[in-house]
Symmetry: C2
Subunit: 570 residues, 2 copies
């Protein structure tokens, strides 16, 4: 695959390492934890305002069995005012509230109604906090009425949160059953700063068991659905964020990403997502597997999802205006910088049609081609990007994920004995699986990552490219529990480069996107991922592409993505 | 020592872990490498322009045996023009050359003369490149004459380089005998950017075996001397830089620091040194023990030494103007930022009189008191800084240094079989010594470091302090091969905070700095370090203190250090 191979030749060895040694303890699970799961779901169910649900006559009997496009339901069900408000993006909402054309209370009510539909159709909610949101909006309205000011740039903007950020006084479980008693004492730092900027929290959204699937299944709330086709996956791990933003049940959401967990859901649900470089958004108070060790070889980042590029910028600008680096030593003191919008002819963009590991499915290839043609016609300089050691990057990522031999995940799982979701089983086998890394392997992989980053920097310089446009995943939203290769996204976690996922405007089309049944897979990854392509299943599903910028260039990447989006929307 | 202890209770256990397993191979060493060492030294010796040496009548017979203050020699020996030029600091030199009041050629010649004295007296040179410097200066003068411009902000400024940075076409050995054949193909990236800014290279300076002593002994050029008292150590590992800057044989030098290697030599020789936070100055092409693994738990930084705070700023400004982050992916894109000079009354400074591990020697305590009094009188707000978990930070640092079980150092040493310097033997035993860290220990220590950094950030916020003034080491320059505790400096490598070492204006004085023979050591470190205090040996030696700023605040820290220096110089 590459001259500079690292350790394992995946083209010859099986896709998966030896099976994981995790053994569920179903007796313990049924006895002690299933009741807690039931109670959790009852609470969730009781928080749903039934008066806002779509009538069952509009829906198929079984949304999990019938491929149903739920995207049109809100327009059918909602009153005009609610629809008008919820069609606004976050930037427009912030402006209108600041200009007193809209109140925070009207706004949150509209989004509560639409979020109710979103949850009914996609199971995007982990916890519903509508009363909390209504109270908060009222306080904000009163503040504005009294002082004439907003509390900050997000004053009154409804903001959905992936569940694994600590939320004052509420359980934070990160998709682990064993954490169902884990009540947070305060907000995660990032949540707190968003709150301080005026954001209104009202819903916490789903994530898969272990937070490490490009899918949505957990043992607490089950599986999520893709609103474009309810039998398909919304992706993951920011599963609920992808679905709720697509349904416009939320204008702005906070996700996290260590291998593609913002970008996958953004792409699969046809919305925008930003995976920033590390050290700009605080991780303090984000619950995951491990809390007493730190593996620096790969690092999670938080970032926003939304329905427009402007909202991603609003998020970053509002957040960084709070100078989070004065509160979190990990962060780099890099205030948001205003950069000019480039002209199309200022941009040189490399196009990635194949990463050398897994060839994209036909809808993705077609989306790339259409976008490339439009950009070229608008004067953007286009080059073909030859992939560089992607397999090695994937191997570094996989090895880093399980550098502790999965002991942290095991600790979380064993406490409840919960069964493994199929993709957890996969996740626990990638890299060196339960074996983990020795100290020297960890340091060697870290070094390999540094070398690879430097090679990529040199390639960007040498090829004169500031941005790439790449598949986010090889296909559209997948069937549940199928994706095993995330190399198109995890590459950029290893590189720590800025990624903006955007809707290409292209949808899967079974009448043109034929499967090449004669294609000969180059390796076991490709055998699997190309094998799961199903034109019928992908039909009608959005293709999300990703614009990749250099490291720490969120400002420039968002501006470039806006130019691209404006061109392809014409 | 601290409630939140990590692994080892050093107050109960011996100072050192089990002895190192390294065994010199003297047969190999004598046969294959001693001839190479001889050839290296002959070349060094031949490059010394004998006409510039001080007459032996001015010097004691044996500078290593007789405590001799060499600082006055240049004024006695040098012609007036040479003396005038070499008394200028780098900023003045750059200005005068840009204004055509001075040529690069005149300047380098003057510093060559004075550097010759510095080397004669302190053994500060690892490699003399005077002809190279003369040629380079001539080219710069011609360029300026022809174009009317300078090539950059360091045009014509002589700049000394610690040896371990790659130097095109020259051997780079990093103090390891086994690297005596290692000819560099190009400059280290930082050297190249300094060169591009107009710096004139003319000398490469000494470092100890392994680069990990607060001292100067290596098997290639032997031991260096402190110019204030030739029997004493110049410190390390930027040993030669400390000595040559003090002698004004160089106006500006480049050192490196992973535990105190810029700050120690700066303090012991009475000059200025900046240890920036990580990721501002490129490490590419800095040779050390390991080249195929990366331990992120502790990271080296490069930084300047000079005779004035202005020169440290000139260095940073000139260097960052070259946008090194576009060439080295590790670097943060943080251009130099102009910040205002604070008034004395704007500053709140915490004073560290004791780190809770090793009590400073009397000259250091006296220096702190004198500086504190002067600052207080000038209106600076002073608080006493209670030490926080310093022992734990030292343990993390020590564990991280040898996370690979010293295998990289062993590789370097075993190739030549060279004998261990006494402080290498010490170094190979700190942390977990040859045992190294398991993967989980490494990740646990990394996490502990993150926790500690966050605690420090909170303490700075809570105590309302922007800067600390702290001992750089517990005493003045030590006798050779004695320092075993670097906690006053390595703490800030673990914290990754900005440090500016500056001359306090105070010198050891045996008539007042009595040793408290009844002092009861709190732990084995203190027993050792307090035990080696010798008022007679410290008499007349400068005390260098360190101003500590927050992370990534080199700009503000240098401005604050300038205010402090102006106040204490009155």
């Amino acid at each position: 695959m590459s001259a500079a191979k690292l350790f394992i030749d995946h083209s010859k060895e099986p896709l998966l390492a030896p099976a994981t040694s995790y053994k569920p303890n179903l007796e313990l699970y049924e006895k002690e934890w299933v009741p807690k799961i039931k109670a959790y779901n009852e609470k969730l169910s009781n928080a749903i305002p039934n008066e806002y649900l779509a009538p069952s006559t509009l829906l198929p009997d079984d949304l999990d069995a019938t491929p149903f496009n739920a995207m049109g339901i809100p327009a059918t069900v909602l009153d005009e005012k609610t629809l008008t408000i919820t069609e606004l993006n976050a930037s427009e909402i912030a402006q209108k509230i600041a200009a007193r054309e809209l109140t925070a209370s009207e706004t949150i009510l509209a989004f509560i109604k639409r979020a109710t539909l979103a949850h009914q159709l996609t199971h995007c909610a982990m916890e519903i906090l509508f009363d909390y949101g209504i109270k908060r909006a009222k306080v904000l309205d009163e503040y504005q009425a009294k002082t004439g000011h907003t509390v900050g740039p997000l004053h009154g903007v409804p903001l959905s949160l992936k569940e694994h950020y600590e939320f004052e006084g509420h359980v934070t479980h990160a998709g682990y059953v064993s954490l169902l008693d884990n009540v947070s004492e305060k907000f995660s730092l990032t949540s707190q700063l968003l709150y301080d900027s005026g954001a209104v929290f009202y819903i916490r959204t789903t994530e898969p068991q272990s937070l490490m699937h490009m899918d949505s299944i957990n043992n607490i709330t089950g599986r999520g659905r893709n609103p474009h086709k309810t039998t398909m996956s919304p992706g993951g791990s920011s599963s609920g964020e992808g679905a709720i933003i697509a349904m416009k049940g939320s204008p702005l959401g906070l996700g996290s990403d260590i291998g593609g967990s913002i970008r996958g859901p953004a792409a699969f649900n046809g919305v925008w997502g930003l995976k920033p470089s590390s050290k700009r958004i605080s991780l303090i108070g984000s619950i995951s597997a491990r809390e007493d060790t730190t593996c620096e070889a790969i690092q999670a980042v938080l970032g926003p999802l939304s329905n427009s590029v402007d909202d991603l910028e609003l998020f970053m600008k509002s957040y960084l205006a709070q100078r989070p680096w004065e509160l979190d030593q990990q962060l780099f003191p890099l205030p948001w910088k205003e950069v000019p919008t480039p002209r199309a002819s200022d941009l040189t963009i490399g196009f990635v049609y194949d990463d050398g590991v897994v060839k994209p499915h036909p809808p993705v290839i077609r989306a790339l081609k259409e976008v490339e043609e439009k950009l070229k016609a608008a004067g953007v300089h286009i080059i073909k990007w030859d992939p560089h050691r992607v397999y090695d990057a994937v191997e570094i990522a996989n090895a880093a994920y399980s550098s502790d031999g999965n002991s942290a995940v095991f600790d979380r799982l064993e406490k409840s004995g919960e069964p493994l979701a199929p993709l957890s089983e996969h996740y626990l086998q990638i890299g060196k699986g339960d074996k983990g890394l020795s100290s020297m392997e960890l340091q060697y992989y870290t070094h390999s990552r540094e070398v690879l980053r430097q090679e990529y920097l040199k390639l960007f310089n040498k090829r004169g490219v500031d941005f790439l446009i790449t598949p986010t995943y090889v296909g559209t939203a997948p069937k549940p529990s199928t994706i095993k290769y995330w190399g198109y996204t995890s590459l950029w976690n290893i590189m720590d480069q800025t990624c903006v996922t955007f809707p290409s405007g292209v949808f899967g089309d079974k009448s043109t996107d034929f499967k090449d049944e004669s294609y000969k897979a180059r390796n076991v990854y490709e055998e699997h991922e190309y094998g799961i392509y199903d034109p019928e299943a992908s039909d009608g599903l959005p293709v999300g592409l990703t614009l990749v910028g250099r490291r720490y260039t969120e400002e420039a990447a968002l501006k470039a993505a806006k130019v691209v989006s404006d061109i392809i929307s014409v």
